[in-house]
Subunit: 387 residues, 2 copies
């Protein structure tokens, strides 16, 4: 396992010390990337050992990528190494089933590493705003690490998210507003209360945990890239993490060829990245009156919008927004024809795939990975009202 | 992968043909076991190849045990190979996290194989009574296989179970009664309607799918037995399947030593196996006025009670019933100290462990596996009302 060498600003490239907790770039407030000397992991010999070692025997989850993760004793609940399932209707379409993670969503990967590093740095009290699932994951990993979690969540977040936070013993504040309002409250109170703010992209390790999705999807396709990746984009951390993973894997000689087109998927009721993409802007504008039953997509201005937009463009991808009706029709379609109860956010990805086939942006013989970011089980109230 | 040689009655040992669909023993109505010629899998060379082959590369789940499962094209949603997590408070205590399965519970294993074999036999319409989670799993796998599912469920089953069945497109009947009432309705209507009844232990393959839990827990402990296994016992299929797995593994030379004490865990409001165990009886009596918020344990008379009781006694185990208050106290304890939101049934197992430590039946230095049979996410309404 490699030592973290330094943290590098995603915007101005300034280096920051990794021996103490860092938030964002001290010069320009950009998000920080974790950088290592990965030379010990170079080559396919290291790659092909993955999953075969004694440590992988029980269940190593995302720990199978320990060669490219910080050399720190992990706080783990069994996150990662989730199923990659071929669609029964088109074998070129793969569903990455993130609902199999602890707490039932992809948020487990990022928070597992953020809490691991917080414990490593000796922090005791963590705080975060959340659209729902990140709060549940933070509450779970903080409980496992014996730390306090202070969570701010819109009051109309699905019931499962509220119940899990309370069960894990987190301090939960329900807010009459959106995640952006929650974020302001966390930013205001954290200095006074002695909380460390683990907001999306305001500390470097959630991206680092999420990058394992990039390693996994390439490994699960036999160390080859797909043609496109569909990613439900709220905060967009996973897309940023996967793109970092692709870069690292190329440097390591673990994969080569054309990187996938990255497709940012949002809901029509909250689509700041789609609008900015269409208007050719480098960053997004705050989306007014955000509303969608895909609660994880209710992020009116992602902090890392400039990175997301850059990735979508670099990759030759696109950004797509779907109506809630279209999203739930796809959810019902995948449940009844594939036997998979997706989250509404995951169903936005499946709906976006159908849309881009219809428009001809993609053809059915291209290999694609669709991210189901969470289990439909956490949306019983939302899905029950619609199906 | 081995061919099924024949089906053998668990009670009178009569053999049945495996080339056509079978239900229970034609002579004595006992449950049928699947028997193979497993000689090709004998020895540690086969064992040590598990998980390393090309087929295991993407995500093989319980397919990693294909050497001991029927040689039939599987209907899979990514079930099995779930995390085995050490307790943070006692490293001898392992939590087997079955909530990571498709549909969020251990039921996926049994129904995956039952539906696989039903498709193999050319069946089109399946039916089952359920306490909740088996219904969800049947609905999912039937949808994946393009088959009809007819599900009968008590009307006060948790909301998640009702919603998932409808989303998967199953035909759901809510019944003012218990699973035993549902079972009678399925038995009555199936012949008229042309449904194949996949009730617990009334067809041979749900046990066969559940046996993979036995293979997994032994593999995940480095091909060694634990001292005890705590199993929330509704229908008890998993205990029967695991015991079969232990026998097979010994014959294959994959494991040796003393088999674990098998602990049947029930709720005080529905404890037919515990009562029969304590009274020294070979089978249970119907439990009157069954009630518990651990809905999966609301099975007033398990069909395989005689097998379960035999296993518990043979293994030197015991049977324990806990009050709902004790169960939910343990659920809260594991959420807030371990970061794991268990199902109420899983929390019955953790509560039973604490109980048997207090009574001295087990000591803290014994290695135990506690089964969390499902994710707490499917019990948001139930847990929310109690935590």
């Amino acid at each position: 396992m490699p030592q973290v060498a330094f943290l590098e600003c995603s915007r101005c490239c300034l280096h920051h010390d990794a021996t103490t907790p860092q938030t964002v770039c001290t010069a320009c407030a950009g998000s920080l990337y974790v950088r290592y000397d990965l030379s010990a992991a170079t080559g396919t010999a290291v790659r092909d050992r993955i999953g075969t070692t004694e440590q992988d025997h029980r269940w190593s989850g995302m720990g199978r990528y320990r060669d490219v993760l910080p050399a720190v004793d992990p706080v783990t609940l069994g996150e990662g190494w989730t199923p990659m399932l071929p669609s029964r209707r088109n074998g070129n379409v793969w569903l990455k089933e993130e609902g199999a993670n602890p707490t039932g969503t992809f948020k487990a990967r990022g928070l597992a590493l953020a809490v691991t590093m917080a414990r490593h740095y000796g922090l005791k009290k963590l705080a975060a705003p959340t659209a729902g699932n990140a709060g549940g994951a933070l509450a779970a990993y903080a409980a496992a690490a014996g730390m306090e979690a202070h969570i701010f969540m819109p009051k109309d977040t699905p019931m499962a998210n509220q119940v899990e936070c309370r069960a894990y013993g987190a301090h939960l504040t329900l807010v009459d507003g959106l995640i952006s309002d929650c974020g302001r409250m966390v930013a205001e109170r954290s200095p006074k209360e002695g909380w460390f703010d683990v907001s999306t992209l305001k500390e470097p390790y959630r991206v680092e945990g999420k990058k394992t999705m990039g390693y996994e999807l390439v490994e699960q396709l036999g160390w080859e890239y797909p043609d496109a990746v569909f990613y439900p984009t709220g905060g967009g951390v996973g897309m940023i993490g996967m793109w970092k993973a692709f870069l690292e894997m190329e440097e390591l000689g673990w994969v080569s060829g054309r990187r996938p087109k990255m497709i940012a998927v949002q809901a029509a009721g909250c689509a700041p990245v789609v609008r900015a993409f269409q208007q050719g802007q480098a960053a997004s504008q705050m989306w007014q009156d955000a509303h969608t039953a895909a609660s994880g997509l209710r992020v009116p201005k992602p902090y890392g919008d400039y990175i997301i937009l850059d990735i979508v463009r670099q990759s030759g991808g696109t950004a797509v927004a779907l109506s809630d009706d279209t999203i739930f029709a796809s959810l019902k379609d995948w449940a009844s024809h594939e036997g998979l109860l997706l989250s509404p956010e995951g169903a936005a990805a499946t709906a976006a795939y159908d849309h881009l086939i219809r428009t001809g942006f993609l053809s059915p013989d291209e290999t694609v990975v669709l991210f189901n970011t969470g289990t439909g089980n956490k949306y019983t109230d939302v899905i029950g009202a619609r199906v």
